[in-house]
Symmetry: C3
Subunit: 260 residues, 3 copies
């Protein structure tokens, strides 16, 4: 993502600057958070919080059953699919539900999405655990995001989809599930075509700038099938996507490091 480079530049500019102290206004900076609601932060400007007993009027606004007193909420500026994949692992591992998955048009000037995922539970310790598990999974899932100045590609695969993938893209629970993302959108279209022709998989969703995305510069498909077929489709789509970005004179690199 461009965000990381931009961040480096901005930090350099900020360090060079220095600002005068203020006489009025809020409390001074301390670079740490004492709030019990703060769980942790992660890649992609991700932050995870818990609220033990969500205000009743907010619970109503997010259409949450009153029996769930507690929520865990994880938001990012950069990252949609890696966050849903991570939340899918978290919801499998904990006694929580996925209350909502929302995407924003963000990535700090990049082509894609940020995301906000809300877990809910009767006991706050379960929501906290879900947020912790999700934050721990992010680095691995960002290994399948390859970024460059002109765009990015993403490949995601699970042998067994759960409730986060169901909420976000209607994944059939318990089945193998794959996601391909390409930006600019033409890259995503070729990846989709390659994925669907490579193996015997069934398309679940198709999203493009004007339909199914938040006006992002991406074409995204999701698909299901036998585990081997889904994995093979994802791997072939990766080669096609990287090849096109290189043809544009780019050098797409994994955001962290690829597991496969």
């Amino acid at each position: 993502m461009e965000g990381d480079l931009l961040k480096k530049i901005m930090e350099a500019v900020e360090d060079a600057g220095g600002r005068d102290e203020k006489a009025v206004g809020p409390s001074e900076a301390s670079n740490q958070c004492e709030l019990p609601e703060f769980v942790g932060a992660g890649i992609g400007d991700t932050v995870g919080l818990v609220i033990a007993n969500l205000d009743a009027s907010l619970r109503e606004k997010i259409n949450l059953d009153p029996k769930y007193r507690s929520i865990g909420i994880v938001s990012s500026r950069t990252g949609g699919a890696p966050h849903v994949m991570s939340a899918d692992t978290a919801v499998k591992a904990t006694n929580t539900i996925i209350a909502s998955v929302e995407f924003a048009r963000d990535t700090k000037g990049g082509a894609g999405h940020g995301s906000t995922i809300i877990f809910a539970s009767e006991d706050v310790s379960d929501s906290r655990r879900a947020v912790e598990v999700m934050l721990d999974e992010l680095d691995e899932n960002f290994g399948n995001v390859y970024g460059c100045d002109a765009g990015h590609i993403e490949l995601h695969y699970t042998a067994r989809a759960s409730f986060a993938l169901e909420k976000a893209w209607g994944a059939p629970i318990g089945k193998a599930f794959g996601i391909t993302v390409g930006a600019p959108p033409a890259v995503g279209m070729l990846m989709a075509d390659v994925a669907l022709k490579t193996a015997n998989v069934d398309i679940v969703t198709y999203a493009s700038p004007s339909s199914g995305t938040c006006y992002s510069s991406e074409i995204i498909i999701t698909f299901t099938g036998d585990a081997g077929a889904v994995k093979q489709a994802v791997l072939q789509a990766r080669e096609a996507g990287l090849s096109v970005l290189r043809g544009m004179g780019q050098n797409p690199l994994s955001t962290t490091s690829p597991a496969w």
Copy 2:
């Protein structure tokens, strides 16, 4: 906002460059505007213009009653709530109406909104005055916007809401009104929860990336109540929001300087 840092960098790069002169094309640069429609510019790439007698087909497109011949129009790249707050002061002070409030997904790679607000009047001098008042108010209202690389928070408070706040968020006219904004969205959710629990206030609107925003990376609530309660809610939400951003390793700073 990241925009300001980016601007510095870009100016440096542009100064370093220098471009060849062009032989064809439009008139040369002069760094000033002779047009009678130009009123002024301000923070957040804000520009304010007046049109004395708006073209009839445009008036129809924006659903404006023909009795209003004149409009004042103020647009920004960065800033939604500070602009609505400033327009609220302007509409109180002048013989104008608020024809429309629109938001864009912008902030030049940041997490939030730009805005476009149209005043209308029978006499162009009233629209001009409204634009002038609004531009004068911006710096103060940007004092309540705290930005950093990962996101931003905003707090806005008025003892008496008027027609701009009504148009944008359905504020009850004449009552105290508060706004909290947090980005990434999880920050805004905690601020909302803190605001609503701090004092006896009633939520008016709730907006999140997929509902009520332009796919921005924010959660925004507005609320009303007794003046003291609204102010207290806003102040407590500020502490919570700043604390979370600091927990992310950030140093959020007021865009100008905070009045409270």
Copy 3:
């Protein structure tokens, strides 16, 4: 567009960096594309591809008549109207149809749109030719895009609109057609007012941040009329738009070089 400056900065930072080689993961970088689907790349992070026999389930998702086996797809990160203008020339010159025109909220932190245009044909050679013609036209059409840090303006004119302009904005086929774009939106409103008052033209569409755009920071109008009137309207709007941007302290420059 800011994108170009940002690109320079990023390239500098990337060159300075250097990254460790990876042991696992996809094939190594080669900076070229061997895929037969790759046609070419262009300004605005534009990439053009062809797919000789689009997968049937994708054809269904994009609502394409099965008689069109082949598609050409051109996507950009930066550029909406210049791409539609270029596609309009391409569809006139080839035996293809315009299957779809989609816009994204992009420009890499700028105020405007990216775009994705799909050509379809029975024979892949026709789609390939359309993509080639479109890519060849881009530089000229970007000459009418004037960018600066605070925003941009665009002016487009054709003596005879064809199917791409019809698909994107309902242009009447075979008639003169003009487009004015201004960002921030107030700039676009003044340009629209000037265009409509300058000459006897009829407005076709009006788009603003909350209606008809992808939440971009622009006001865009399209209009038709006699060729001379449309051209005159566009030229006068250009002067107004440049003047306002200069009044904001900016120096808007053509992205390539203006033909008129």
